[in-house]
Amino acid sequence: LAKTTQPISMDSYEGQEVNITCSHNNIATNDYITWYQQFPSQGPRFIIQGYKTKVTNEVASLFIPADRKSSTLSLPRVSLSDTAVYYCLVGGQGGGADGLTFGKGTHLIIQP
């Protein structure tokens, strides 16, 4: 599985757009990029997934450049409730039983 690198922590303010970048230099051709969010005392929650270019849903956008060696999770107009740990994962369609490999994640802190 491709290894990922992301900042350990980030700070921002309410109403701002937050971009968290993840590096995955060894991403394989069939790998997808997935982001999860984890609040204290809760399990991780799926946010968004993409393979290339841009993906947008009601929560976030995911930008993936052509070489796919990095990706950026974009959270528009964050609020205090977006304070959480965000994990970037890279993996292929391995049949479902491989399990997810989590890195250390990015601890995002939103201030008033």
């Binding site: 997935t34 399990g43 991780p44 997934q49 994962l89 292929g92 049949g95 399990g99 997810l100």
Partner: protein, 114 residues
Amino acid sequence: DTAVSQTPKYLVTQMGNDKSIKCEQNLGHDTMYWYKQDSKKFLKIMFSYNNKELIINETVPNRFSPKSPDKAHLNLHINSLELGDSAVYFCASSPSGQSNYGYTFGSGTRLTVV
């Protein structure tokens, strides 16, 4: 209805005891997992079951034994508990054929061994 439910939410016990954590999912998923999150918040997979069959067994002491009576349940039994077993244990499930997304996690069981 909670999609993936774990019980108990908190568990405090003494060293040497045996304890179990239960997990149930009502999503119809074929694959279930146990993850351990330590004090440094590092989340590591322990076991993976697909249709009641063990698929992954990472480097976990054999004091930990998963049991899957049916594909909706995956329980974790821990023998001879040690201080280092203190952590938050998460159960998760996913549909077959999707290794990267579609995972649903439970809210965790915080185990404290004293």
